[in-house]
């Protein structure tokens, strides 16, 4: 790489008792409270379940996880770090170092899954596939190119799209296995990663919006156009990558709905309206409920037969009752 490494020119001691943006503290605390390590998840309980997968299913699963490893590696070693020089506050810098470290934990956790379930030969083979898969390499390259570019707000867009969109062609599979009661401990670990990525995407998207407040309308329009162009570029590549991975088992169309659903959320994290209509985002309810058990329609009071629902009356409680 010929680009000059960008670093902070001037550093002052960080004072956590003088806060410019409360969001920095809130997100720092949330990230710290969410901290986890793969060693805490009993992955070895999945060994028997792994043996019930066909060789083709095992191969697909390993390829998915090496792809996710690559993205986490990019985000940990290049992405989150590249955001530090443009941080508005020192506490924002600190949050990015936390994000970078957790991405490295994520990348390492896939290796924990591999070493628990697979042989060294199989692992090497899966990494070889990920190094050679054109669409996977392309998506990593597109993002790396923007990280090394010179536009701080575009870097945040690329980063948010990575955190909130690009992972999901991969995240689909462990949710799918989990919905069929397979690899459930692996799914538990992936859910921890999914939770982290949501906070990362939310925070980086928030900082992007703070940056937008400081620029004029023409620049805002430029960044909006850029965001949608980049999303289209990544989306087209993502569709190809999805076919590469899932055509063998006939899941590609189902995965694409999950992509659309998450593309909408990535846009919302950046402060833009959702783009894909609901007819394209109707994710398989089994996948949605593997992700969040209370995300299904049964929890929509408005669409149920509301007339038969007894409306509870508010009870007057003592104030202490509010210490949950």
């Amino acid at each position: 790489m010929t680009e000059k490494v960008k670093l902070l020119h001037h550093v002052e001691a960080i004072n956590w008792n003088r806060i410019q943006d409360e969001k920095d503290v809130e997100v720092w605390n949330r990230l710290v409270n969410n901290f986890w390590l793969p060693e805490k998840v009993p992955l070895s309980n999945d060994v028997q379940s792994w043996a019930t997968l066909t060789p083709a299913e095992q191969e697909m699963t390993m390829r998915v996880f090496t792809g996710l490893t690559l993205l986490d590696t990019v985000q940990g070693t290049v992405g989150a770090v590249s955001l530090i020089p443009d941080a508005i506050t020192q506490h924002e810098e600190a949050v990015y170092t936390n994000i970078a470290f957790m991405e490295s934990v994520h990348a390492k956790s896939y290796s924990s899954i591999f070493s628990t379930l697979c042989s060294t030969k199989e692992i090497d083979e899966a990494f070889r596939w990920s190094n050679e898969n054109e669409n996977l390499q392309k998506k990593a390259q597109i993002i790396v190119d923007y990280y090394t570019g010179d536009d701080p707000l575009k870097r945040k867009v690329a980063s948010t799209l990575l955190e909130s969109f690009l992972f999901y062609s991969g995240f689909y599979l462990p949710m799918y296995w989990s919905s069929r009661a397979k690899l459930t401990n692996t799914a538990d670990l992936i859910r921890l990663i999914i939770r982290d990525e949501a906070v990362h995407g939310y925070y980086i998207g928030y900082k992007f919006q703070k940056g937008l407040e400081k620029v004029d309308e023409a620049r805002r329009q430029e960044l909006k156009d850029y965001t949608f162009d980049l999303l289209y570029e990544l989306y087209e590549n993502e569709v190809q990558y999805t076919h590469d991975l899932y055509d063998g088992v006939g899941l590609a169309e189902d995965v694409k709905k999950f992509l659309h659903y998450n593309a909408n959320k990535a846009l919302m994290n950046l402060g833009y309206e959702a783009m894909f209509p609901s007819s394209l985002t109707d994710v398989n309810p089994a996948i949605l409920s593997a992700l969040s058990p209370n995300a299904d329609e049964n929890h929509d009071f408005f669409s149920g037969s509301g007339s038969s629902y007894v409306i509870g009356k508010a009870v007057n409680t003592e104030d202490e009752d509010w210490d949950f």
């Binding site: 949330r30 999914i194 402060g271 969040s292 009071f301 508010a314």
Partner: protein
């Protein structure tokens, strides 16, 4: 920068404004500086009062039955999921007695804690958790909540 944010946070959408004010809006909401929930409420186009962003500010006071919209940011194994500002608002007995339903905002990525704060309030106050949406909500979410609330208030009047 921070000052403008807080000034914006202290304003309300529609009638009634600022810490310590009373509101007869049938929607009360909390939104952090991310403004996600605020954007959703703005898209509803209904009169709504915003709970002050700064915890140290005096809360607002409901004068009529209302539905509360609030986000859950997930994490922390479900502890401390209700924003302090919302707790402060609900600690007021009259505010609590006028609550008729809750709408939760969140992110399904948070798994079991998706919209947990709304669940907790609904259970504690024995009111229905009416709807869940993610982040700033989609066009479909806006349409369903608009229609759902209209029917909900009609039924409430009959009772």
């Amino acid at each position: 920068m921070a000052a403008t944010l807080m000034a914006e946070g202290a304003t309300t959408y529609g009638s009634g404004a600022g810490p310590g004010s009373s509101t007869s809006a049938s929607l009360v909401y909390f939104s952090s500086a991310s403004e996600n929930t605020h954007r959703f409420v703005r898209k509803l186009g209904m009169e709504a009062a915003r709970i002050p962003l700064r915890t140290q500010d005096e809360t607002i006071y409901a004068r009529k039955p209302y539905v509360l919209i609030l986000p859950t940011y997930g994490g922390e194994s479900g502890r401390n999921s209700i924003p302090k500002q919302v707790l402060k608002f609900l600690k007021n007995e009259e505010n609590r007695s006028l609550l008729r339903g809750v709408i939760g905002a969140g992110n399904t990525n948070f798994g079991t804690t998706y919209c947990l704060a709304a669940d907790k309030i609904a259970a504690k106050c024995e009111v229905p958790h009416l709807y869940r949406f993610e982040l700033m909500g989609t066009a479909d979410d806006v349409a369903r909540v608009k229609q759902g609330l209209e029917e909900f208030w009609k039924r409430q009047l009959k009772q």
